[in-house]
Amino acid sequence: MYNFSPVTDRINYMRNLIRDRVTEHDAELAVIMTEVHKKHAGTPPIILRPMYIKAICEKKSISIQDFELIIGNRGREWLGTSMSPEWFGTSFLPNIVENNGWTIREDGKYHNPDDEQERACISVEDYEALCKIRNYWDGKTTGAPADAWQPDFYEELAGLACSDYFMNPGGLSGIMSIPAGHLTPGYQKILTVGFGAIKKQASDWMAEHRGVLMGEDMDKYMFYKAAEITCEAAITLINRYGDCAAEKALSEQDPKRKAELEMMADSLHYISENPVRTFWEACQMAIMYQIFLSMEGGYPGCAFGRFDQYTWPYLKADLDKGTITMEQAQEIVDAFFLKINSFYGSFGGKGVNTQGIGNSYMHTTIGGVIPETGEDATNPVTYMTLESVGRLKLHDPTISLRINPNTPQELWDCAIETSKLVGGLPLYQNDEVIIAGLMQELGFSLEDARDYSLIGCQEIVGSGTDYPAGNGLNAPHASVHYSVVFGMAINNGINPMNGKQASVQTGYLYEMNSIEEVRNAMETMMRHIIKMHVSIQNYTEYLTYYNCPHPGLSIGIADCMEKGMDCTVGGARYNSYGGTATGLATVADSITAIKYMCFDEKRCTTRELYDAVMNNWEGYELLREEILNSVPHYGNGDPYADCELAWVVDTYYKICRECYSKRSKVFKSGMYGAADHIVQGYTTWATPDGRKTGEPIADAMSPAQGRSVNGPTAVLRSSLCFDHTHYMDGMAINLRIHPAAVNTETAKGALRDMTRTFFEQGGMEVQYNIVSTDTLHAAQADPGAYRDLVVRIAGYSAYFVELPLDLQNDLIRRTENEIG
């Protein structure tokens, strides 16, 4: 059911445009929203926000390109982007243009400098339009209250620099600088119910209660009014795209394209109010809703949910009726995923070492089980998704493949073939662990648990039933830097990086007489920091209740319309929030090093080890080498090291479960972190595991870089030292696999079987990066971080970084030949 065959000409054309894109910024949203804000200043936010979006939907530029099969733009231009001032203000972009050396080119637009990896531009008119309203939003952004005032412990938390919280000299806290997002919106409901019926539900309630609003009716009325305006906005937007298609059809000469445009016009006018009828309409509606939400809030990490599940019934019906062929359907899927790739906007910059280029974070989930029956849910769209990702070589959006005991062999093969083509995708998620975890940790019903999807990096959420992210927080990722917290725990609460003292004192490592005392110090410090962190999160929840309701999201999320309650205040069927920890292996290995060196083997005193760490190992090189080479490390299947990891993650989980807000009873824990391990490493002092100041900490749930030397089965086995069902904010285990492990049919089978075994044993997630030439070049540049990169050729194995340069280069050439 997959062959990674060539794409159609127009898809290929579109792909090339996207690959060579220059993101064009415009001032459209900013200008429209500023007008609304000026006119309606003082209107309660729950009404004012729908007013913004209604004005945008009425006035925004609309266009359809000749090569487009799935339509809709976030910005004015096809590859453009338009920034909402509500969160970011309007001075941000002019500042970049002026301070980052943008210059006017032949096309008359400002462009970012050539030495930045990503290309961006803005027209002079748009730049000037932004300059005109440059300071209008100062003090008026959604995050402004959090910048103006913070709870009194904030100074301690920000000052300690052990989290993503900071305090700028100018007073910006960054506490609420982006909207929450990080969820799977209710596509299923939007597709099957339609905006017309949702609007009617709101209007009917208001008609029934006209002039009689007692008790909680007032809250409901405000929500339903917002929902009504929101639905009107969506209907307007979709109809305008329908009008645009109709207009283009009139002047179109090619009869085939003319018919296509007429179909689009007819469909868009219909689905603006009614449930979708066809596969094309289903795909188009999912994109329209995503665009609509981007105008409401620019929600980051707004996922596409179970795309194969909510679109397949329509494709099946189309196929039964004979109105579509599989080839036509595949082209629609190609266009769908390319459209997602056009949503990514860039400001230029040099952040690719930590961010990667072009991530929409619109995670898409496929496979899994049918919610009602628990049977395997694989369908043709499951394969078509992988086919598109593989044949278009798309690294975005992230695709998660849900694995269950009945996942068909062919789907496994297709997925591993896709991994080989695009590296790292799909992520493999284990239904058995996640479904059980959702029921146990978050109280999901079996049916809703079976309908989970993945969002953002790794987070597990209900599909359109769940409001799973903290309201309005800068730091939905790995907010607390646990390696810094550990440094503080063995340094009496002082961060060695900046000398700041926490209000809790835990003693110095050289005063500690047993490993239990070390663990107790860490638990005390973790509790102190996590609780302050969640308290700040709860402050943003408090601010959001009034300042930033999300009616556009709420109308799609299960139970909000029924309860008459916005998702930000608890209208959703399931409520949770959480954070994640990255690099807990660095903390665990540090504890193991202290245990082994100071207490069990007595190779050095706690004083010596403390001095070595505080001196960033300078003058203690031999001690450092001894720790690197003789202390057991997490990730090698050695219980001596693994049990410390289990202690750290269990303690982290236990403390998270002590936290909650008014809206959410559960603060979820997770173990992933995008590329946070690199950034956090920069600001983390040396650690007792031998890591030097500034070096990366371990990545997500993976072993510390270069510390696992017994192969992938040992890594997977080590990770099973704790219960994965606790970590419902998701988990990431990144395994590097040499191409030799997937270059024969039998070897590919082995990768599948290893995953299956890991899942049977209770593993939640794994992703495979088939080693590319890029990886090998990176390993040449930074051997220390790639110590575990094994080269295998039947019966021969060696560590890549330990080979002489000529042989390394030879291997790079080989790798090029094997995987292209």
């Binding site: 082995a750 079987d753 290893m754 080269v791």
Partner: protein, 318 residues
């Protein structure tokens, strides 16, 4: 209890082996081999003793460390001149001359950075089984198991036999990776506990075999036939060496021989020569001239595969 006292010298245990037999396997590499194939890519597997190795990339330099300089009882280690490491920084490495080295390991024990290290660990059956038991879940889904390899694992027959008996007690699939250059009695003793032999056929011409490897091939071919007659399964491995056994004529000989024992052959694995072993000779500090050649082309490998497949044999490359 007796068997726990048996030890062997191993140089590696490798999890997730996907090229040493079917499925996901754990391969135990025993140290020591009676043959001296010039292309051997794991020269550390040849001697039956622990050996000193040297890997400069791990060394932190004499000026920071220097612990190796005074420990050698035979005066093999001297301070070297200033040079540059891979990162381009100045460094002084020790100069190790193994002429008088008796492999005592004192320098390796002193080297915290493990730039000097001893290859070869003496292990018990329990040591190895501890690791195997932990990998066992990964065997079951994949039809994998344990491969005992080398060196020549049948050159340490008591240990190998006890190890695979222990595996069989746990119902683990066992493959023996052998050169075939052993007495048939040894093969016979392991046969009841062996699901397949990964069996090397390096060359069909006995004179050439003797000339290059040092021993003729009659015993090897004879053993293969006897395994087949006794109902054993053979997973044949042919290292494809340029100018030596890669010709069409030579593969005709392979084909003819394998056709005789066809019922026993479950796979013919063609392993193209590669140069990666060169690094390991350098680590052993030997001056021995090693075989080098350009690896066979993909086209040639495909042609040899097709040639054997045409004779009805199951073939894979790698």
């Amino acid at each position: 209890m007796q068997k726990n006292n048996i030890t062997a010298l191993i140089y590696d245990i490798q999890g997730f082996s996907v090229q040493d037999g079917p499925g996901v396997r754990t391969t135990v590499f025993l140290k020591g081999c009676p043959l001296r194939c010039p292309w051997c890519h794991s020269p550390e597997s040849q001697r039956f003793d622990r050996e000193l190795n040297w890997m400069s990339i791990r060394c932190i330099g004499l000026d920071t460390c220097g612990m190796c300089l005074d420990v050698c009882p035979n005066g093999c280690i001297k301070a070297g001149e200033v040079t540059q490491n891979a990162a381009g920084d100045d460094i002084r490495y020790p100069e190790v001359d193994k002429t008088n080295c008796d492999e005592c390991g004192k320098c390796a024990a002193a080297c915290k950075a493990t730039a000097l290290y001893m290859c070869g660990d003496e292990v018990t059956i329990d040591d190895v089984m501890y690791r195997i038991k932990r990998d066992k879940p990964f065997f079951e889904d994949s039809g994998g198991g344990v491969t005992v390899s080398g060196g020549e694992c049948l050159a340490q027959p008591e240990f190998t036999l006890e190890l695979i008996k222990s595996c069989k007690e746990l119902d683990i699939n066992v493959a023996i990776d052998t050169t075939g250059f052993v007495k048939y009695d040894v093969i016979k003793s392991v046969m009841p506990y062996t699901d397949m032999f990964l069996y090397d056929l390096k060359c069909m011409d006995s004179d050439l075999h003797k000339q290059v490897i040092g021993v003729p091939n009659e015993l090897i071919l004879e053993n293969a036939k006897r395994i087949a007659e006794a109902g054993g399964k053979l997973w044949i491995r042919i290292p494809v060496m340029p100018m030596y056994n890669d010709s069409e004529e030579h593969f005709k000989l392979y084909g003819e021989f394998l056709s005789e024992i066809k019922d026993a052959v479950i796979m013919v694995q063609l392993l193209p020569y590669h140069k990666m072993g060169l690094s390991k000779y350098a680590r052993l500090l030997t001056n021995k001239q090693v075989f080098t050649a350009e690896p066979p082309s993909d086209a040639l490998m495909d042609a040899r595969k097709a040639q054997l497949e045409a004779m009805g044999l199951p073939v894979r490359i790698h």
